[in-house]
């Protein structure tokens, strides 16, 4: 009896030791796994920019960014049309998407009955799941013909259909982040506003929305990052012609679609390929800047 109890105690002790070792090793394993993400992002920046920088062996920096002449066969690599296309498209799509998305976020967080709120949240989840090529497909089969019908002199391809498609694609980002931030505004502000005699709508726009602003802005910027990087849907409707345009209805090109169009036909290590990697580097730098802005905005929570 005594003996078995003793051996049981030894077993127990051994078990405790094993679980303690396991406990400590798991902690370091998890840390190692988290560091993996940092290693991945650093190597992405390193490999992509290393190839991109090489383009300046053959092309001048100012020429690369400010020339609008893109003719790889003649050794001319000016990406003005590309970054201009990206810039206009991103701003337009973010504006359209934010307008609709923020209004919808206000509705589901403050006015909607519970059932409708669930319905819209579910719809947002489905929106996230729709593949970008399917958005592009709809753009190609519905929006491009529609634009052609309304403006018969245009081909239908261009920034306008791309911006409409993109603004729908970024809706989920804007809605979910804004909704989250509006819902988490302290109830006391709202009640104080009612007590002062404000209506529900007045309260929403002059109390709740300003308090939720950092979150809403974060949502808009993250949506902008998504619009900036979207490739396939835009490629299918923008026309992919490297020309600087002054109309939303003429075919043009963006940084992302330029990479997709040309990468397949370049030889790895050539100036052409390096130019495409430089365009990718540019996208990478802009998206990192956007993330840094989001972090600054979020740290500035308004203290009323």
């Amino acid at each position: 009896m005594q003996e078995s109890l003793l051996s049981q105690r030894v077993i127990n002790k051994r078990r405790t030791n094993i679980s303690k070792v396991l406990d400590i090793s798991m902690k370091y394993l998890l840390l190692a796994i988290s560091l993996l993400t940092v290693i991945i992002i650093i190597s992405i920046v390193y490999f992509v920019s290393k190839n991109g920088i090489k383009v300046f062996d053959d092309i001048t920096v100012t020429g690369f960014f400010t020339s609008d002449y893109w003719a790889p066969d003649e050794g001319e690599f000016g990406i003005l049309a590309f970054w201009r296309g990206t810039l206009i498209l991103t701003i337009l799509a973010t504006f359209l998407g934010s307008l609709l998305g923020i209004l919808c976020a206000i509705f589901i967080s403050k006015l909607a009955p519970k059932g409708i709120k669930h319905l819209i949240k579910m719809a947002v989840d489905v929106f996230v799941g729709i593949p970008s090529v399917v958005y592009g497909f709809i753009g190609l089969t519905v929006f491009v013909p529609l634009v052609r019908k309304i403006f018969p002199q245009s081909s239908g391809f261009g920034i306008l259909p791309a911006a409409v498609i993109l603004s729908i694609m970024i809706l989920p980002t804007i809605i979910s982040i804004s909704e989250n931030s509006i819902s988490s505004v302290d109830k006391a502000y709202e009640e104080a506003s009612y007590a002062l005699g404000a209506t529900k709508i007045q309260t929403i726009f002059s109390v709740i929305l300003p308090a939720a602003l950092p979150g809403v802005i974060s949502g808009v910027i993250l949506a902008m990052a998504r619009a900036l990087g979207e490739t396939m849907a835009v490629q299918m409707v923008i026309g992919n012609t490297p020309q600087v345009v002054n109309s939303l209805l003429e075919p043009t090109i963006t940084l992302t679609t330029g990479i997709v169009m040309d990468m397949g036909s370049t030889e790895y290590g050539s100036t052409w390929s390096n130019a495409l990697f430089m365009m990718a580097t540019l996208l990478l730098v802009i998206s990192i800047i956007l993330i840094l802005i989001v972090r600054t905005v979020q740290r500035r929570k308004i203290n009323l």
Binding site: K20, L30, V38, I120, A123, D125, V134, M236
Partner: protein, 288 residues
């Protein structure tokens, strides 16, 4: 009086905006299914694609889509879960943690084409995998890490802290507490994140063009991870934007319908699973 009118007008605009959002979605799904359902047939879904003539199918593409999805999840889920758990349970708010967080956030909004180029340099060219299923799956796994990380972290933080204290008071180690109490409690919510990751993996194409390629293997089904692996999304893009087949419209419409159906079915399945698990752990009273 004037105040009331303004109120009603603004409220109406808010209602309208949400109706538009819902309307767009319903109209989207309707348009895709209307165009695509007529193209669906046994031969289309399981048949082989054709390069030049009409009547090709999407069998190998469908197979590759799921093969790459599963391979990528095998890599994504442990890394995402691990990092999420680290953030929720171990990380202190020091410089190191801030750097890791910045890394995850940067990864989250990285343009997918940039990641595609990275995969091309590292896996396809550097490790000599060529355009392959494994090259595509590895690159794809990177893009989903941030989703799983943030969902895991939020889910862990939402678990009632008394569970944690009770477990530790019974003498468990921290890891035992995480593994046997926190993980099961957080799992229904983590499942929602996996759902999002699956949707993204099925729909992603920019990453896969230069890593998995735009061709399918000669044999079908081909489990060789080094064979080229065009997925359904890439196929849809390829036939519509570049390809030469005469019935590209029909193939693209059918592929779009299949993609949407897969996404909807997986969405519903995962929601049901998450709901059932929630009931099992917390009883019926809790809402999802």
């Amino acid at each position: 009086m004037k105040r009331k009118v303004i109120d009603n007008v603004v409220a109406f605009i808010l209602y309208l905006s949400s109706a538009i959002v819902l309307g767009i979605l319903i109209w989207f799904i309707y348009t895709i299914l209307k165009q695509g359902l007529s193209a669906l047939s046994f031969n289309f879904i399981f048949g082989r694609p054709l390069e030049m003539e009409a009547g090709g199918g999407i069998g190998p593409e469908l197979f590759n889509t799921f093969y790459i999805l599963i391979l990528s999840l095998i890599v994504t889920i442990p890394i995402g879960l691990g990092t999420g758990i680290y953030f929720a349970e171990y990380a202190k708010n020091g410089l190191g943690t801030r750097i890791i967080r910045l890394g995850v956030e940067t990864l989250a909004s990285l343009p997918s084409i940039v990641l595609g180029l990275f995969g091309m340099i590292v896996f396809v060219i550097g490790m000599k995998m060529g355009f392959s299923i494994i090259g595509g799956a590895l690159t794809l796994s990177i893009i989903n890490i941030p989703v799983i990380v943030s969902v895991t972290e939020t889910a862990f933080k939402e678990v009632n802290p008394t569970y944690k204290e009770a477990s530790l008071a019974l003498g468990t180690t921290k890891w035992q507490m995480i593994y046997s109490i926190m993980l099961p409690c957080a799992f229904p919510k983590i499942l929602n994140g996996i759902n999002l990751a699956i949707g993204r993996a099925i729909g992603e194409s920019a990453i896969l063009i230069f890593t998995a390629g735009t061709n399918v293997s000669r044999s079908f089904p081909d489990f060789n991870i080094l064979s080229t692996g065009e997925t359904l999304s890439v196929h849809l893009w390829y036939v519509k934007a570049i390809g030469l087949i005469p019935d590209a419209d029909k193939i693209a419409a059918g592929s779009a319908a299949v993609l949407i159906l897969i996404i909807l079915i997986i969405n519903i399945l995962m929601k049901v699973m998450s709901y059932k698990m929630q009931n099992k752990f917390f009883g019926k009273s809790k809402v999802i």
